[in-house]
Each structure stands twice: as C-alpha cells, then as structure tokens.
Amino acid sequence: MAGMGNERHLETGSIEPPPPGKDVVRVYGMKFCPYVQRLKLVLAAKGVKHETININLVRKPEWYFTKNPKGLVPTLEINGIYIYESDITSAYIDAVYPGRKLMTEDPLKKAKEQMLLGDHAKTIAFYKYACSSDPEVRKQGSETAKLGLGALEKFLKQAKTAFVCGDQPGFTDYMMWPHIERLGVFLPDLIPTFELVKKYFDDMGLDSAVKACRFSNELLIEFFNFEESFRAGEKRRLYDCGEVVEYSFPTAK
C-alpha cells in the first residue's frame, strides 16, 4: 500500500520542502486521490523510484502554487521542471523511463482506447454524485456510472483481450483503474452486473502495480466518510488516516 505514499499532508503555513535531489522524481500527491493514483500506478508498473510530498487539498500550502499554479495534484518535479495533470505526467513517465512501454503503439488501438477514456468520464462522474446527500442525485450517479461501465463492457467484448490494452494492463487500464476501484467499494452491486467488467475488475486486482497502490475498503470508506462531513460544511478532511510517515526535513513553522 506504500505506493500511494503515507507521507503527512502538508498544509497552509507549512515550510516549503527543499527541492528534490538531482534526477530525483518527486510527486506531489494526496494519499486517496484517484488522479494521483493514475500516476502512482504507472510509476509502480515501471518500477520508477520516487519521493512523495502529500498536499492537504482543503488547506493548501501557499508554496504549492509556485509549483502548480492551479494547485492541483498530481504534480511532478524533476530537476526544476514541473509537469502536471494525471494523464500528462503519466505519459511523460512512460515515455522517459525504461522498461515496459505502457502506452499502446498501434495507432488504431490507441485511438479506440482514447475514445473509451472519453466514455470513462461517465464512470468518473459517479464520484461526484455519490457524495451527495440527496438520494435522487446518488441514483443519477449510479445510472451515469452504468453507462460508463457499459462502454467498457462493449469494448472488452470487441477487443477479446483480458485488459483494455491487451494481455497485460497498460496505460489506459491504469488511467481507468482508480475510479473503477472506488466504484467497486462504494457501489459494490454495480460491477457484477457486467460479466466482462467483473472479470476485468478481478484480473486487475491481481496486478502488482494495482496491489501496490490499493487501500483496504475500510480505509477508503473512512476517508470518504470524512468527505461527507466536509460537504456537510465542516471543511476539514482526515487525509492523514491510516499509516502516517513523517518527512526527513522540517515542515512546520
């Protein structure tokens, strides 16, 4: 589970960390963020050593905006260069670091995967709806997610491969996994209604990168419930739940 990084989430008022050493890959993340997880999966699949600095996303450190003006995660910092966005950082790591190429090379297959990622936005949408206190909205989230899973089911049926990218998980599998994983936790009855998606879900669960970045359902639910209280107006989040690792440099003033 260390793949996501158990480092403490730095917040407003914290001291800016020193820059990473030469050629060191640094990821600014948030332990439970599905977008950060995309990059973490790619880093794990390629065996890329890196350090993690976690960011408190409701009380962001002022210094973080100098790294990423949008203040979002994930951000990569390597030798003074900053790259952000989950897909851009992931594609960069895949292109630059040795080992298995995760990105599909065949142009037609890649185009089909990219179109699938477009449909996957519906699966992602459940996350927003599922947080609502309104049961009607939550139901809508479930219906929207079904459309996304339906597209994946259709894709797998046509592709006839175990994974979207082929016989092993690839770039697109890792881009889709974090939200599918969460769907499995929060709407557990949905995935089993799709035959191929259910098999895909189980097969992805056996992948070593997926395992490295996976939390227990209990921990995810603990974090998620805290999101509920956030939405109820408490504006606090328990990012540092589960194991917490401290940094080797000073962070608090």
């Binding site: 790259i83 966005e85 897909d87 950082t89 594609a91 890649k110 185009a111 477009g118």
Partner: protein
C-alpha cells in the same frame, strides 16, 4: 478522393463579397474545409467509403473539425468529406458515431471521433512530416498549454454568446487568462511556433479558435503582443491558408449560430455524387 462537382452554386448575395475577400486566395485553396452540402435528418445514408478511402464527417465552419482539416492539409492526406447538419443530425450518422459530433473519420469500417484523437491518428498513420512533437518534455509542456487553451476556447464562446455585459466581461476575463498563458509561452520560446520552427500539432489544435478570436473579437488580443505576432506567422502557413474561409462567410455563419438559425450551406456548395 475528389468529389465530382455535379452542381456548383454560389449564393448571389455573397458572390461579390467572396470575390473581394479572396482575391489572393484561389477557390481550390479554400476547399479544404469542404463545401459539401450539410446532410440532415431524413437524408439518405451515403454508401460507405471505398476500401482504404479516408472519409471525414465534418461541418464547414466547425473549429474542431478544422483542427483535423489542418492536419490533413499539412500532411497532404487525400480524403473525402461528408458534411453534417449539426442541428438536425441524420439517424445514420448517430448510428455510426453515437456521440454525434464532428469531426469523425471512417476508414475500412472503423469510426474514430474527437478532434485530437482523429488528428493524432492521422499523423501516426500517414507518412511525411510528423506533426506531433516527439520529445516527451516538450510534448508535456504543449499538452499543459492545451489545457490552458481550454480557457481561451471557453471564454471565446462565452463572449460571443453572452446576453448581458456581466457574462460577457466574465468570458473576456477567462479568455484573457488563456491568452496570457499562451503569450508567456511564446515569449519564453526560442521558436516562432509553439511546436518549433514550423507549425505542429499543438499549433494546429489551437489555430481555429485563435483565428475566430482574430475575426470576431480582435480587441481581446490587444494586450498580447506575442500572440498577435504568432497569429500573423500562422496566417502564412499553407495548411492554415488552405482551411481558411472568408471572414464575411464566418460572420454570416456566426450570426446564425448566435440566433440559433443556422444556415450551413453558405458560400460555395458542392453536391455529392451519391
């Protein structure tokens, strides 16, 4: 693949304006966007394209379709065009492409859609100059720039469709934020174009909306000297010129777009041979 010109009609009212606006542009150079009639609901489904023939489903004035058209022009990729009436989409088109959007391409039974996906596919599959940047870091920087370009695009639509001053001002602010990022990128760049010494993928992805800002809301560019200089350079590019339509035609289309009374078949209209 040339479409047989069965009938060639130019609207009389615009005919004179066309001549005066295009004295330096010959007709065939403008044909790249495709003057084909826009097919609507109730139209007969075209026969599928022949073996290995690339078909582009498009709309003459669509900036997203123009992205693909620019890449096709830059790589001199022969193709046929079927234009779609986007307010009354044919059922046969929705069956091919459930999203119902343009551009889409059809080749040997495969249908691909989305402007960036189709453009990248064309670049990879066709020989000649590679339009997509190969260097991973440069590509990452261009992709981040495209993210900010989203503000320019969103702001542009907001600005031309706004019904009140407050919404228009907010749209201008959003557009300015996007243009500011591009302006800074260009000022830090050692090359004339975003992609390098020649326009590349990202330049072509951004061009259609920059072109329209230049036509419709030029004052929005006032504070962005680098963007203005960049636009002047892009205008000289062959692919850009090939896909250009007269400003007057754009204005007529935009009026229809704003008032939800669109006439797609303005200017030259070419009929299909099916």
């Amino acid at each position: 693949m040339k479409t047989i010109w069965v009938l060639h009609r130019t609207s009389t009212k615009l005919g004179d304006k066309l001549e005066s606006c295009t004295k330096n542009l010959r007709r065939h150079q403008m044909a790249a966007m495709g003057n084909e009639r826009h097919l609507a609901a109730g139209s007969t489904e075209p026969p599928p394209p022949k073996q290995d023939v690339l078909r582009v489903y498009s709309m003459k004035f669509c900036p997203f379709a123009q992205r693909l058209k620019l890449v096709l022009a830059a790589k001199a990729v022969k193709h046929e065009t079927v234009n779609i009436d986007l307010t009354k989409k044919p059922q046969w088109f929705l069956e091919k492409n459930p999203r119902g959007l343009v551009p889409a391409i059809e080749i040997n039974g495969d249908v691909i859609y989305e402007s960036d996906i189709t453009s990248e596919y064309i670049d990879e599959v066709h020989p000649g100059r590679k339009i997509v940047t190969a260097d991973p870091l440069k590509r990452a920087k261009e992709l981040m720039l495209m993210g900010d370009h989203g503000k320019t695009v969103g702001g542009f639509y907001g600005a031309i469709l706004a019904q009140d001053d407050e919404k228009r001002a907010a749209a201008f602010t959003k557009m300015a934020a996007g243009l500011d990022v591009l302006d800074k990128f260009l000022s830090n760049s050692s090359t004339p174009f975003v992609c390098g010494e020649q326009p590349g993928f990202t330049d072509y992805m951004m061009w259609p909306h920059l072109e329209r800002i230049h036509i419709f809301i030029k004052p929005a560019l006032t504070n962005f000297k680098n963007v203005q200089a960049y636009i002047a350079k892009m205008e000289k590019d062959e692919a850009v010129q090939a896909c250009r339509l007269p400003d007057e035609l754009h204005k007529v289309f935009a009026e229809g777009y704003k008032t939800k009374n669109i006439d797609y078949d303005i200017g030259d209209v070419v009929e299909y041979n099916f």
